[in-house]
Symmetry: C2
Subunit: 350 residues, 2 copies
């Protein structure tokens, strides 16, 4: 990578996260934003400055209807993809980019560990990347950091690990409307259970977090068990978006667990509900030495997610082509500039 | 790297940390211990089983007087180096290994960021590695993890970082004799100050922790300021090794600080003293979003140090040849086996 050359980045998907991603990309000295991609007709052809409300940062870049249309107008090194939770659907959207050797960082939850639900496509896409030089990575905050990369990183100073416990409590009252809706706010508890049992409610990518941990530790886990239950409101709750009465759903409690034949175990516990007390992230390793780490308040949601995506771009460009995992990349970190990084200087990824 | 082939590892330096490293290496299924290296005549030629008290784990491996003697008897892929704190001296010991394309993981504190004190040798060694395929990395717990890699990793979910604060409080009463001695236990405070001002007391590698953080964030810092003061005993203290009277030195308080022209700042604070209350590690980022993480009790010392060294071996073998930093390597983690790691499978580092 030539450190004097900015990385040309485009944004695929212009929902709230995509807009937030563009605003952050505009502030990074090592990025040149070359365009956006969205299928909504009312956006196509408009300038990114207009859409983001930040005219000075995007003098020329605009919205294209497809990756092909973008590529016909500009060069691009990397794409931030924020347009879905399912591995197969995301791979279908990303494939044309990989065919052109682009590096794609995606918020798609299942892409954190795509071999779990799409093993054949993952292998096929990985083989495609070996011939084109393309790279794809799924990341974010959860999945992507607090309940997977963080416990993995903590294990780096352990001689041995027997078990991994992680818990995250999110006060959904402080979050935007889509998250309050996603956790079932105001829903009849039986209706929530019914939707959850059909895979239509709950936090996506939770099993992938567990699979990433197991993979990094070298554990061969069997079945992953997952439960999703409503948290029942014990008092009436009024948010900016929802009115929840006592007895209705105030949020969700989701657990994934697995163990190996040798007795190694992983247990991840997520609660996201309105008026949650003591929001936090906590990791406890049953390890030698034992380690417990707590983040009071927890890692905040949307901005941190966007940061995780943007911060991963240079690391992904420095990684080997293929379907990459967070554990394949260098230690995640924020970057003010790329100028002082010896590993980047030594590279010729671009 | 052929995942069915174990990594051939030798241990350079057979002090307490070196012995502990051998014991851990023996428990890793992906390691084949091929020998030890130490200059002490009474050790040379003895079996590692005898020296470690673990006869079954080392049926044949023994102690050699030098790397050359080891190499005359066996193949070796990687060496764990635990024999000094100074970059120049360690580079001199490690150079012959790098000439043979070996990967060396070292506990040498200054090698965490060797360009700080030995910029010319670092460049020369890096160039050597480009021709031989050798790799060298400095790591550990402190420096190497709690006050550098951990805050760096936490910045991975930050859109921007203005400042990094880290503190570590170690209860030296719980640690072995060399650490109690190193922190000045029982010394006259003025004598401790005098030794510290001559660079003969204090925690090594602290400025390197700061430099690694600044480098990863892309901050161009100026002068690093460092202070080392005695912690004065406010009561009589009796440990297994020292009797410290009120008014004598009970330990050390060391601080490194730096800032950039733009006002970005790093402040790291280390206290290691007898009878310390509330030992812990704590990181607080002045960032967007802000993040604070606490490890109650702190990451324990010697075993964690050895774990950090051993855990880094496969990551270093997967990295590009050269003088490597922890931030060049994949996210640190413990490994039960290497079998499930796609990145390792795809590699041909060996």
């Amino acid at each position: 990578m030539n450190i004097n050359k900015r990385i040309k980045v485009a944004q695929f998907g212009l929902g709230p996260i995509g807009i937030s991603s563009l605003r952050l990309l505009a502030r990074k000295s090592w990025v040149e934003v070359v365009g956006g991609i969205d299928i909504r007709p009312e956006l196509i052809g408009r300038s990114l400055g207009e859409i983001t409300g930040d005219l000075s940062s995007f003098p020329e870049a605009k919205v294209y209807e497809s990756f092909a249309a973008l590529l016909a107008s500009t060069e691009v090194d990397a794409i931030v993809h924020t347009a879905g939770s399912k591995a197969e659907q995301s791979f279908a959207q990303i494939r044309p980019m990989l065919e052109h050797g682009i590096a794609v960082v995606s918020s798609c939850e299942e892409l954190l560990f795509p071999a779990l639900r799409a093993p054949e496509t993952t292998q096929e896409i990985d083989e495609l990347c070996q011939t084109t030089g393309g790279r794809v990575l799924g990341t974010g905050v959860n999945p992507g950091y607090v309940l997977d990369v963080l416990p993995i990183c903590l294990s780096g100073v352990c001689a041995s690990v027997k078990g991994v416990y992680g818990e995250r409590v999110v006060d959904a009252s402080t979050r935007r409307q889509p998250l309050q809706k996603k956790v079932g706010s105001g829903m009849d508890p039986e209706e929530f259970r019914s939707l959850a049992s059909q895979g239509k409610a709950g936090h996506a990518g939770f099993q992938e977090s567990l699979a990433l941990i197991a993979n990094s530790l070298g554990w061969k886990i069997g079945m992953i068990s997952e439960t999703i239950d409503p948290v029942i409101a014990d008092h009436d709750i009024e948010t900016a978006y929802f009115s929840v009465e006592t007895g209705q759903t105030a949020g969700l409690h989701q657990v994934v667990q697995a163990e190996t034949a040798e007795g190694f175990w992983i247990h991840l516990d997520l609660k996201m509900y309105l008026d949650a007390e003591n929001p936090h992230d906590m990791i406890r390793l049953d390890s030698s030495p034992s380690i417990e780490a707590t983040i009071p308040g927890g890692v905040a949601g949307d901005l941190a997610t966007v940061a995780a995506l943007v911060n991963a771009i240079p690391s992904l460009l420095n990684a080997k082509p293929g379907v990459r995992l967070m554990t394949d990349l260098s230690v995640p970190h924020c970057r003010e500039s790329l100028g002082m990084e010896p590993a980047l200087e030594a590279e010729s990824a671009l």
